[in-house]
Every structure is written in structure tokens, then in C-alpha cells.
């Protein structure tokens, strides 16, 4: 024993090998960078859209505007006009400026979706973490209620709620979307929370005698923030599509307020008349949702790709 101790006291010049990996950084791919640019663009539009719009969203344009100078036409068509100097993206089915409506609609569509997603997160994460750290019975109760909610198709569920509330306003729309999407947020935050809950460092905190609140806020939440951020992006996209689908059915945002989803629906008849009016808002929806997805891909790749499998559920 003694010679062993003596010998190892002598420094022999071999230090412990550093095996620590360099810190993981989110590396943006080209699609990711484009995605961020587009999302930033739409965020700016949300703020300044109505100010830079040439017309008001509800303005039905005067026929006079469309009279070609020098012609003797008295009553020109104002609906489904092709893009021109007067209406940069053309006009819609009753002669409103599409560009203005898209600029105004950005605020409605994105605003509703962000608020609804935030609400879904507030409800879903709170309940999910409660289920993960709470007693077996609490977990069982919350999970079964959640399963019941998930088993109802979301659009059908929303239709029933909207019918019961008799054409409610925007606030109710946000509540309904938030509530419906809270179910899937619950599932993810519960499973992420459970995984962290059984880790050694949480056990170490429990042995120390830490309270539940400390464990949740200091040990669990920081460790599930990244995957939840990824999920937030995806969930946001789903909510945009959901609100748009409701508006398309005529049950979401009510006219004359513009909203991308209802704009697609309103202008659908234009397709047979050779007008691309319904495609413009569709492109807006696509550009935003695809961009968010491209950003999410980068975050998820940085987190090791393990998230993707969990998100599918």
C-alpha cells in the first residue's frame, strides 16, 4: 500500500485527458437563415403593416381608380383585377386591395396564433409538469382527461364549441384554439418532465431536501426549455393552419376584418375567372409556416435530433 501511495504522489507529467466536448451551438443552415429572415419580415409587418398599407383593409375601391385615362368606360370591373400600379397584388372578390388586406391580416393571423399558442403552453406545460411531478393519481387523472381531448378531432371540437357559443369574438377564438392545442403540449411536457424527474441531479436535489417549486423551476424547466422551444415553433404553425381552416369555413375571423385563411376562402371563386387572388394569402401562410419549420429543424438538429421522434406523437 505504502509504496503505491508514495509513487502516485510523484507527478509524472501525464494530466488527465480533457474529454469535455466543445459547447454545442445552434448552427444555422442556409434554409434556417432564410427562415429567420422571412419570420423577421413578417414580424415587422405585424407591427407596421396597417401604416404602410395603401388602403384600409375594409375599403372597397372606387371604380374611378380603375378607369384607364383617355378611355370612355364608365363602370369598369373592380373585382379580381390583376396586379397593376393601382393594386400591386390585384383586387379581391368585391374589389378590395389584396396587398392591404394581407398587410392588415398579418396582424390578425399571427397575433391570434401567437396568443393561442402561448395560452396552449401556459395550460399544457403547467398541467404537464404537475402530472410529471405530482402523485400517481393526479398524473392518471390529467392524462386520461387529456387522452379524451386528443381523441376528438380538433376541427370538429372547435366547430361544436363555436356553435355552442353562437359566433363568439376573437377572444373566444384564441381561448378555443389555445385549449385544444394545450392537449398535445401537455403530452410533450409531461414526458420531458418525467424524464428529467428521474435523473440523478433531481434525486440529488431531493436528498438535499429541496422543495417541489425549486425542483421544478431550477432543475426541470431549464432542462426542458430547448425541446419545448422547438415544439413551440411547430405548435405555432399548427395553430396558424387551424385558425386559417376555421376562417376558411367561415367560423373564424369575421368580415370585414382580414385574415389570411378567410382570404383564401373568399377569393376561391376567382380561380375559375383566371385570378390568382386566393393564392396570395396562401403564399403568405406557406412562407411563414415553412420558415418556422426550417428554423425548428436547425434547433432540433442542435439538440441531437432526438426531439424529432418525440414530436411525432
Amino acid at each position: 500500500m505504502s509504496d503505491h501511495a508514495n509513487n502516485s504522489d510523484k507527478p509524472l507529467g501525464f494530466d488527465e485527458l480533457p474529454d469535455a466536448p466543445p459547447k454545442r451551438k445552434i448552427k444555422l443552415s442556409w434554409p434556417g437563415k432564410i427562415g429567420i429572415a422571412i419570420v423577421l419580415f413578417w414580424s415587422v409587418i405585424v407591427v407596421i403593416g396597417p401604416t404602410i398599407a395603401p388602403y384600409h383593409e375594409a375599403d372597397i375601391l372606387d371604380e374611378v381608380l380603375f378607369i384607364v385615362p383617355g378611355s370612355d368606360e364608365m363602370y369598369p370591373d373592380t373585382d379580381f383585377q390583376p396586379p397593376s400600379k393601382i393594386v400591386y397584388l390585384g383586387s379581391d372578390y368585391i374589389g378590395r386591395d389584396l396587398l392591404s388586406r394581407i398587410l392588415y391580416g398579418a396582424r390578425t393571423t399571427i397575433g391570434i396564433s401567437v396568443l393561442a399558442t402561448l395560452l396552449a403552453y401556459l395550460i399544457g406545460v403547467t398541467a404537464g409538469i404537475a402530472a410529471a411531478v405530482g402523485s400517481r393519481y393526479l398524473d392518471m387523472g390529467l392524462s386520461r382527461v387529456n387522452d379524451a381531448l386528443l381523441s376528438i378531432p380538433s376541427i370538429m371540437f372547435a366547430l361544436v364549441l363555436i356553435a355552442a357559443l353562437d359566433s363568439p369574438g376573437l377572444a373566444w377564438l384564441i381561448v378555443i384554439a389555445g385549449f385544444i392545442y394545450a392537449a398535445s403540449v401537455f403530452r410533450i411536457s409531461r414526458s420531458l418532465g418525467q424524464e428529467v424527474m428521474v435523473s440523478d441531479f433531481v434525486e440529488a436535489a431531493r436528498v438535499r431536501g429541496e422543495g417541489l417549486w425549486w425542483i421544478i423551476t431550477r432543475e426541470i424547466l431549464p432542462n426542458i426549455a430547448m425541446p419545448l422551444a422547438t415544439d413551440f415553433g411547430l405548435r405555432f404553425v399548427w395553430v396558424i393552419l387551424f385558425i386559417s381552416s376555421l376562417s376558411f369555413l367561415g367560423l373564424g375571423v369575421q368580415p370585414p376584418t382580414s385574415d389570411w385563411g378567410s382570404m383564401v376562402k373568399e377569393n376561391l371563386p376567382g380561380l375559375v375567372l383566371g385570378s390568382y387572388a386566393c393564392l396570395m394569402p396562401a403564399f403568405a401562410i406557406a412562407s411563414l409556416t415553412i420558415s418556422v419549420n426550417m428554423i425548428v429543424d436547425d434547433i432540433s438538429a442542435a439538440a441531437g435530433g432526438k426531439l424529432a421522434t418525440k414530436m411525432i406523437s
Binding site: M1, H4, A5, N7, S8, D9, L12, G13, F14, E16, L17, P18, D19, A20, P21, P22, K23, K27, S199, D200, F201, E203, A204, R206, V207, R208, G209, E210, R218, E219, P222, N223
Partner: protein, 604 residues
């Protein structure tokens, strides 16, 4: 005859995100002749696995060959195309991974998996392969060779699975076997059986092998030649005999020192009597504990029975036993993580509440738990100063400047530089994380420190350094240690007293000297004789002994009556040992052995 495998100035580099190359293997050369075992030895990060995998023409993702050749019978495998590699892998070169439990598919029978590779490669028909597998089961001394193939992986023990991996690799009669740390995760008693089986089967089959490990005493048993690696460079290359008996390089000597000497009397540290007080620091009385619902004082699965342990102030007590014997459960009961079904835990003579939530903050402070895996025991999202600062704030109410000063002291205590306070755990190496883990427990100024396998996951040199640190801390702080390990040499070099657990019972306890010298409990004797010694030829000698023949690698069974060691014990008395609970025989100096054998018989 030229060598089977020639590795010639091999260089492998890692490419990072910025496309820079970092050399991992820096010009390593060695040869493997037919029928020869060459060991690659080094710490983690030394490139030993990377080199071993290159013989399959494979590098891990992110690594690439930048120079040198790996020739199998004169053919360079690095430049081989995918078609040629397919013929090479599994057929001419076979790879055995570290963890058999993770490698076998639980849904397929053992026979299907053992024969799969050689049937896929078309070397043998299914029938021939089945016969070959059965032959290998016999050669590897596996039980029930005729029926084994029909069983599923969960129905055999860990050591048997490890040997079945060897059968899988050998089934197609490869020229070269690559064994990657095949015994690292095993208990000593299992390890020696697996080593013996590998050695004899390699000899029988006449195949060559590359054996990757960090354990020099294992290498001494099995290798013909040894390549000592450090940071991707060869430090020493020579015959096993020469490297083990006359190490020529500093680093090899350093590795040798890290091998703890075989357990023997006289190793334990002396403890000053000054620490003694009336009541022991921590005492466990008539403990019964386990998992599942407790009914009439009995849990659904009982793990510990009638355990009595007392830890004197300032003493360190080693708890030893094979995996599944209840070592960790004992520590968890002491810490309050698992409430006991019966019996009590006393701190300073005062009974502690069984469950954690009922214990007071100062009681919690006095008993601190050090987790086995530092990787998972530190929150990856907290900086080191937060990790160490929290117990200071929580138990001692330190804040601001005072807290920062104390964090600095703690880092100094565990021999880490001050600037580590600002780092995150993932920026630290394994040994450094374990030091932080220890510092966190010490931050509470505890009376008893429960160390659960704290060095098992570390390399030998790093582990030896941590043991030295623990010894220093014990002298400095006067804290009592409960040191849990499956490695008897580690325990022997650190503890004053040893408790030997088997199937949830304390079979022997006493001072380190008393436990490690006769009289022994038959199980202690088996444990002692299974620890590999750092000399060539030890394995052959040991396998001759009665204990080794009788007791190695059986499934541990918890029995309600009689002695649980009965079916492994070479000296079991029929109709007594299997029927009656063995009496506790008190020998001199508090040395206790739970056995039916009399003192006269122990002495033999």
C-alpha cells in the same frame, strides 16, 4: 510467416464543424500474428477503440483516415470498397462490443442471433451454424449447450451473455477478433470466468485477437503483446511479460501504480481514536428494505434482510458485494431515498424518520449522498458555482461574498482550479465532474458521506487520483465515509472496516484487516481470490482453486430460509445450510461471520 494484421503508421483525425482536422491517432504501428492476442491499453480518449475499429476498415462518424495502412494478410483495408468491406466484416474480422446486454435483441432467441452473421454471409448453412454454435457453447463452458440456443437473452446472466457475444463473433471462424472492453462492466467473479473462456477459446480456434481495455491486470492474463497508448501515440510496445514486469516508460509505470494492489490484510488506513464518541455517527438496526408495496413489514421484493451496521465517527466503512446484493439499496435507505420496511436508522443515537420528506433540514445536512455517475448527477444547465453554492445557501445560509469564498475553498479542497466556478458540467472531464460531485456533498459540512461506486465509471488513473483525494479529505474533515463498491481492492485500500453483503444479508463484517485475513466467510474468500493480480499466469493458477471452480458466475438468489450462498458455496453442509438461517459467529475484535461452519473450519 508474415503477420495477420499489420498496422503501419496509422493516422486518424477528427474533422470539426469548421473543417479543421484534429489528430486523434498519431502514427501508431503494431502487428498481430496468427493465434496471438494483442492488447491496446490506455485511458479513455487515448484512441484505443478508434485504432481497434480501423482493423474493420471503419471509423466513427466525424473521423477519417489521413495516413498509414492497416493490412490484413497484406491487403489494405482502409482503401477497400463497400463490397470488399462487407466480405471482411463479420467474416474475417469480428467485433465484440462492450455491453452484451445492449447488443442482444431481447425479442429474438440466442441461437438466432449467434448464427445470424455467418448464415447471412453464406459461410455456413443454418444447420451447420447451429451445430457450430452448440460446439462453441460447450467450448465457452456455458450451461445447457443443447437448449441454450432456444432461450432468450433475458434468461441468462450478464457473464453468460458476454460469453455468448464471443460465440456470435466466433461462429463464422474469423481470422481476427476485436474485443472492446468485454469485461469492464462485470463483477470480479464473473470477469474471471469470462476471461478464462475467452482465453481458451481463442487458443482452441487459433484466431488472433485485439483486446481493448484500460485495466492492466486483465491484460496481463490474456495478452501476448501489449501496446500502451496515450493521446493517440504509442508509449510502449512489447511482450506482455516484458511490459508488466519491466515497464520501460513513465506512462506505463503510472498505469501500473493505478492498479490497486490485491486486497490483503494491513491495507486499511489507521484511524485516530480521538474521533470516538459514545454513539456511532450512523447506525442501522435490524433493517429490512426492498421495493414494492410494504405488507406486514415486508416489501414485495425484499432486497435487504436483518442488516445491522454501525459507522463510528471518523471511520470509513466499505460495503462490498456483487451487483444486485443490495449495496446501493443500503445507501438509499440511509439517505432516506427509500424508506425502510422494518428496523431503524440512527444518527448520533437519535432515530431518523424513514422517509426523506419527514427528516429535518439539519438531519439531511448531516448525511450526504454522492452519486455514482457524476455525468448525470450534475444539472447540465447549472454552472459549477451554482451547483456548489446551493447547499451552502440551503443548509448554512451563506450568501454573496461569503458564499463565493466558500465555493473557492471547496474547489481548492477537491484540487480543481478556481476558474472552474464559471464553467458548466459538460466542459469538464469525467474525473473533474466526480470531484465537483464530491465537493457538492462536502459543501453541506456533513458528518457522514455516502459514496455509491464513485470511481467505478472512471479510468484507473483518474480513479486512483480520486481515491487519494478521498483519503486526504477524510483526514482533513474527519467525516465518516460509507464507501460502496464492487471492487474489493478499492475498498481495501480505503476503508477501516468492511461489510460484505450477499443477497441482502451481511455475511461478514469487521475491520479491514480482520475481513481480509482468515478466518473468512466462504463468499469473502471467493471475492478475494477473484480479484485479478498484475502478473502473467495468475488466471491459470486461480482457476485451479476450489472456490473458483465452485462458486463463480451463478445467479444470486434471495432465499427465505437457509443461507443464500448455499448453492455456490464449496463447503455447504447439506440439510443445514439450505434449511436453517446461519448463526452470526462473533470472533475477536468485533469481527462477525454469518455461517454454519465453526471457527475451526474457517481456519482451514
Amino acid at each position: 510467416m508474415s503477420a495477420l494484421l499489420e498496422v503501419d503508421n496509422l493516422r486518424i483525425s477528427a474533422r470539426n464543424d469548421d473543417d479543421d482536422l484534429t489528430p486523434i491517432v498519431k502514427g501508431v504501428s503494431f502487428n498481430v500474428a496468427r493465434g496471438e492476442v494483442v492488447a491496446l491499453i490506455g485511458e479513455s480518449g487515448s484512441g484505443k477503440t478508434t485504432i481497434a475499429l480501423s482493423s474493420l476498415g471503419y471509423t466513427k462518424p466525424g473521423l477519417e483516415f489521413v495516413g498509414g495502412e492497416v493490412r490484413l494478410e497484406g491487403e489494405d483495408v482502409i482503401t477497400m470498397g463497400a463490397d470488399q468491406l462487407r466480405g471482411l466484416r463479420g467474416q474475417r474480422v469480428a467485433y465484440l462490443a462492450q455491453s452484451a446486454a445492449a447488443t442482444f435483441n431481447p425479442a429474438l432467441t440466442i441461437g438466432e442471433q449467434v448464427t445470424e452473421t455467418c448464415v447471412l454471409h453464406g459461410i455456413l448453412t443454418q444447420k451447420q451454424a447451429d451445430e457450430r454454435a452448440e460446439f462453441l457453447y460447450r467450448a465457452l463452458e456455458l450451461p445447457d449447450p443443447d437448449l441454450l440456443g432456444k432461450r432468450y437473452p433475458h434468461q441468462v446472466s450478464g457473464g453468460q451473455l458476454q460469453r455468448l457475444m464471443a460465440a456470435t463473433a466466433l461462429c463464422g471462424k474469423p481470422d481476427l477478433l476485436v474485443l472492446d472492453e468485454p469485461t469492464t462492466a462485470l463483477d470480479v467473479t464473473t470477469q474471471i470466468e469470462v476471461l478464462k473462456a475467452f482465453k481458451s477459446v481463442i487458443k482452441q480456434e487459433g484466431s488472433a485477437a485485439i483486446y481493448v481495455t484500460h485495466d492492466l491486470s486483465v491484460v496481463a492474463q490474456i495478452a501476448d503483446h501489449i501496446v500502451v497508448l496515450y493521446a493517440g501515440e504509442t508509449q510502449e510496445y512489447g511482450s506482455a511479460e516484458q511490459v508488466v514486469s519491466h515497464p520501460g516508460h513513465d506512462y506505463t509505470r503510472r498505469l501500473m501504480h493505478a492498479v490497486r494492489p490485491p486486497p490483503a490484510a494491513g491495507q486499511g488506513d489507521e484511524t485516530s481514536e480521538g474521533h470516538h464518541r459514545m454513539a456511532p455517527a450512523l447506525e442501522v438496526k435490524d433493517l429490512v428494505a426492498g421495493y414494492g408495496k410494504v405488507k406486514d413489514g415486508k416489501p414485495a421484493i425484499t432486497v435487504l434482510r436483518d442488516v445491522n451496521v454501525s459507522i463510528e465517527r471518523g471511520h470509513s466503512v466499505g460495503v462490498i458485494g456483487e451487483s444486485g446484493c443490495g449495496k446501493s439499496t443500503l445507501a438509499r435507505v440511509m439517505a432516506g431515498l427509500l424508506p425502510a420496511a422494518q428496523g431503524e436508522v440512527l444518527l448520533d443515537g437519535e432515530p431518523l424518520k424513514p422517509a426523506l420528506q419527514q427528516r429535518s433540514r439539519s438531519e439531511l445536512q448531516k448525511v450526504q449522498f454522492v452519486f455514482q455517475m457524476a455525468d448525470t448527477a450534475l444539472n447540465p444547465r447549472q454552472r459549477i458555482d451554482h451547483i456548489l453554492g446551493r447547499p451552502l445557501e440551503f443548509y448554512l445560509g451563506l450568501k454573496g461574498k461569503e458564499k463565493r469564498r466558500r465555493v473557492g475553498e471547496l474547489l481548492e479542497m477537491v484540487e480543481l482550479p478556481q476558474e472552474f466556478a464559471g464553467r458548466y458540467p459538460e466542459e469538464l472531464s469525467g474525473g473533474q465532474k466526480q470531484r465537483v460531485n464530491l465537493a457538492r456533498a462536502l459543501a453541506a459540512s456533513p458528518e457522514v458521506l455516502l459514496c455509491d461506486e464513485v470511481i467505478s465509471a472512471l479510468d484507473s488513473i483518474v480513479g486512483a487520483n480520486v481515491i487519494e483525494l478521498l483519503k486526504k479529505l477524510r483526514k482533513q474533515t474527519g467525516v465518516s465515509f460509507v464507501f460502496i463498491s464492487h471492487d474489493l481492492s478499492t475498498v481495501a485500500s480505503f476503508a477501516d472496516e468492511i461489510i460484505v453483503l450477499y443477497a441482502g444479508r451481511v455475511v461478514e463484517k469487521g475491520t479491514t484487516d480482520a475481513v481480509l485475513s482468515p478466518p473468512y466467510h466462504p463468499y469473502t474468500r471467493l471475492l478475494i481470490s477473484s480479484v485479478p493480480e498484475l502478473r502473467v499466469g495468475w488466471l491459470e493458477e486461480t482457476m485451479q482453486t476450489q472456490e473458483a471452480q465452485a462458486g463463480i458466475d451463478r445467479v444470486v438468489t434471495l432465499t427465505d430460509k437457509g443461507c443464500p450462498f448455499f448453492d455456490r458455496c464449496p463447503r455447504a453442509i447439506k440439510d443445514t445450510c439450505d434449511q436453517e438461517t446461519p448463526p452470526v459467529r462473533m470472533l475477536s475484535g468485533g469481527h462477525a461471520i454469518e455461517c454454519h461452519l465453526g471457527e475451526a473450519e474457517f481456519a482451514q
